[in-house]
Symmetry: C2
Subunit: 218 residues, 2 copies
DNA sequence: ACAATCCTTTTGATTAATCAAAAGTTTAAT
DNA sequence: ATTAAACTTTTGATTAATCAAAAGGATTGT
C-alpha cells in the first residue's frame, strides 16, 4: 500500500510532466507540494529505490512506467471524486479540489467504479480535466489558452487550469463556465489584458489569468 | 487537526464504553485497535496530555467530555458514510465497514451534511447502529440480544452488532436483514444454540452469534 | 579561468506511531 | 504472607516524513 504522501508525489510528478518527456526539477516538485527541496530529494531517492521514478541527480526526476501507472490512477480517483461531489452531492466546483485531495487516497477501486457508473462514465471532471480510464488512458483534446485568442475569436470554454477557490468563484460569477461561448472583444498585449464578452457582459482578464482558461473553437 | 490514529483511538474508546460509566482497560483498547498494549499506553498518555481522556494508571481510561464529543463526531461520519455507500452507491452492507473506517477521517463536515440531506436525515446506519446528530445526541432504542429470546418469541431484527464481512454475508443469505420478522423455534442452552424461522426457513445459530443480533418485539 | 549565483543534496534533528522485550503493579490463589 | 498469573507500563529501537542549515554541483557572466 502506498502512503498518501507517496501518492501525492507521484501525482504531482505526473501533473508537472504528463507526457514524461521533460525532467522535473527537484525544486519545482518541492514547490508544488509545499515541502522543502531537501524533503523532495529525500523522497525522490525513496521513490527511485522503489522503481517508481528515475532520478538523475542535479538534473531532475521522471516517472517510470510503473510510477506513471500509479500516478494516473490517483488522478482518476481525484477527478471522479470531484465530479461526484459536484454532480451528485451538489457541491460547488470551487470547493471540491481540496476535498478530492484527501479522498483520492482512501476511496477504493470499488467505490470509484460505483461512482463512475452513477455518473455515466464521464470523460472530464468539473474543471474540464480529462478522467483517465481504469486502464490508464487519457482522452486527448486540442485546446488553446484563451490568452492566445485573437480579437473577434468566438470560442467555448473547455478547461480551467487553476484549482484556486477564489479564481473558480470569480470565473463562475462571470459566466465563465465549461461550455460557455465567449467572444474576444479586445486584446492589449502591452496592457497585458484581454476583454471578452460573456453572457453579453464585458469581462477583463490579465493575460496570465486568461492563460489558465483553455478554449476550443466552437 | 486530529490524526486518523487519534480519531480511531477516541472512537474505539467510545464504542467500548458509550455511556462513559466504566473504565476501559489498556489491553482491551489495544486489542480492539490491533496494536500492542505498549502502543496503547503510549497513546493514552498523549490523549490524556491533550485533555481528551482521563487515565488512571493500571486501572483504565475514559473519555473526557471533550474527547467524547470528538469521538461521537467520528462515529457520525462513519455511519453516514456507511449508509451512503449502501443507499446511494449500491454497495453491500457487508462491504462498507472497512471503507467507512478510512473515509471517516477525511470527509469534511460539508460532505457529511450533503450526504445527510441526500439520505433524508437518517437515524440509523445499515447495521442498525444509531447515527449521532450534528450536535452529538444519539437516538436510543431498547433492544435485546436474540440470544435472550425465549421459545416462541416473535421479534424483528433491529441491529447487527458484528461488522465482520462474512458474518454479514451469512446473515443476508439467511434473510436476517434489518426489519425482518423472525420467530424462535428452538433454544437449547446446553447445546449453546438457537433456531429461528426466517422467511419460512429454519436457521440455527450459536448463542454467541445470536448475541450479536439485536431485536425488538414487533 | 573564476567567481557569483542558484540549485540540489547531505547532514543532523525532530515528531508521530509503532513494536519487542524488560520491568513493574495488581489481583487472585495457595 | 507468599507466590503466581495476568496485565500495564517503561525502555530502547525503528520507520516515515519532515525541516533548517551546511555542503556540494552546475551555470553564467566577466
Ligand atoms: Mn492528495
Ligand atoms: Mn479538477
Ligand atoms: Mn477509522
Ligand atoms: Mn455500521
Amino acid at each position: 500500500m502506498l502512503s498518501s504522501t507517496v501518492e501525492n508525489y507521484l501525482k504531482e510528478l505526473f501533473l508537472l510532466n504528463p507526457d514524461g518527456e521533460t525532467q522535473v526539477a527537484t525544486g519545482e516538485l518541492a514547490k508544488a507540494l509545499s515541502v522543502t527541496p531537501g524533503s523532495a530529494t529525500s523522497m525522490i531517492k525513496t521513490l527511485a529505490q522503489a522503481g517508481l521514478v528515475e532520478h538523475r541527480p542535479h538534473y531532475g526526476v521522471k516517472l517510470t512506467n510503473e510510477g506513471r501507472t500509479l500516478a494516473v490512477h490517483v488522478v482518476r480517483r481525484h477527478r471522479i471524486v470531484e465530479l461526484f461531489l459536484v454532480n451528485i452531492l451538489g457541491m460547488d466546483w470551487s470547493e471540491v479540489h481540496d476535498e478530492a485531495e484527501q479522498l483520492e487516497h482512501v476511496v477504493s477501486d470499488q467505490v470509484i467504479s460505483k461512482m463512475d457508473d452513477l455518473l455515466g462514465h464521464p470523460t472530464h471532471d468539473p474543471h474540464g480535466d480529462p478522467i483517465p480510464t481504469p486502464e490508464g488512458t487519457l482522452p486527448v483534446r486540442s485546446l488553446q489558452p484563451l490568452s492566445f485568442c485573437k480579437l473577434g475569436d468566438t470560442v467555448s470554454i473547455a478547461r480551467i487550469g487553476n484549482q484556486n477557490t477564489s479564481f473558480l468563484k470569480f470565473a463562475e460569477d462571470n459566466g465563465l463556465l465549461l461550455g460557455a461561448t465567449i467572444k474576444v472583444a479586445n486584446k492589449n498585449e502591452v496592457a497585458d489584458s484581454i476583454t471578452i464578452i460573456s453572457k453579453g457582459e464585458e469581462v477583463v482578464l490579465g493575460l496570465a489569468a486568461a492563460g489558465r482558461i483553455e478554449v476550443e473553437f466552437a
